[in-house]
Symmetry: C3
Subunit: 137 residues, 3 copies
């Protein structure tokens, strides 16, 4: 069994942002040499998500409005009593998910026609990490 690990550093300019990280995951798979296996991609921070959906600008705005309506940044959160201001971001991340697991077949992401891997940031403007872990052979 082979395994490979890579950290991807991200820093967004706005509090919330959505970045297509598919090319970086494809690069990690190539470097791993794994042709059959699984790749796990996860946010290493707890106010961010990794998820799979379409790379369409309108959709990204729909997600952002939906999440802000469900858990508005300016609502009161007990977590913010600790001095943080990111209570909403911990909730938004749970809705969008922490990680995705994707099959690797013939050395490629085994994807449907529109699947793209996204990093969803809900408390940005600082450096954060995404973990890419490949196992297989």
């Amino acid at each position: 069994m082979k395994s490979y690990r890579e950290e991807l550093w991200v820093e967004t300019q706005s509090r919330r942002a959505y970045m297509n990280i598919t090319p970086q995951v494809e690069g990690a798979i190539r470097k791993s040499g794994v042709t059959e296996g699984l790749v796990l991609v996860n946010a290493m921070h707890i106010t961010a998500s990794v998820y799979i959906n379409d790379d369409e600008a309108g959709l990204l705005k729909d997600y952002d409005e939906f999440l802000e309506k469900l858990a508005p940044h300016d609502a009161p959160y007990r977590h913010n009593d600790t001095g943080e201001d990111n209570g909403d971001a911990h909730i938004k991340r749970q809705i969008m998910g922490r990680d995705v697991t994707v099959a690797i077949t013939n050395g490629q992401l085994d994807f449907g026609p529109w699947e793209q891997i996204f990093y969803g940031e809900f408390d940005g403007r600082r450096r954060k990490r995404v973990l890419i872990k490949v196992i297989g052979e």
Copy 2:
């Protein structure tokens, strides 16, 4: 390490539908010959989910009403400005999730008493695919 891959084709008669696909996943595990490992089951389309819960008709209606209340089909979505009418389905799929990973032990799905694997369709009436990827030995 062994690996095995199978695509499951689905086509629902209604826009939204919930199908128990546990028998098909069990079949793929048998064909794989894997007795210890993991199986990843994921929607290959981005307006559908694979999730694990109970096969109970009332619950499926509860899920459907809950999702339609959170992201109604007839609400305005920016994604629909592209000519699509499935903005709601992209949101419903995020809530229910894209994929499940299940342990394989002694050649079987290592499940609790009521766990069943479901395909959740939110923009159906056309042919779509589910990926079943087995790795282990």
Copy 3:
């Protein structure tokens, strides 16, 4: 390839509860002898979640209030026509997720600074199980 399986039994004193189970997962990884691989941790029951987020008391209350607002225990659910009273718990579990997959690197959970594995119970006061499955080498 090595594999290892362990069941963790839990019983909460309240209907809803949030328990940090990171030490138990770390213990299972040590027992597995796996230094490079993946660990899957999943609720074996369909009214409970395993998720990763911060171990901060205010945040746990925020999650609980958010989930209770989205799917109140006392609202009507068709699932409850079966004689159950846990229709809300099946919805809460979908929002928080069934399972997490975590990378194992150098024999440790490959975690960011604040990641902790939680068991989220939405229909407690009875004995339930969490599955920990380790694969790798």
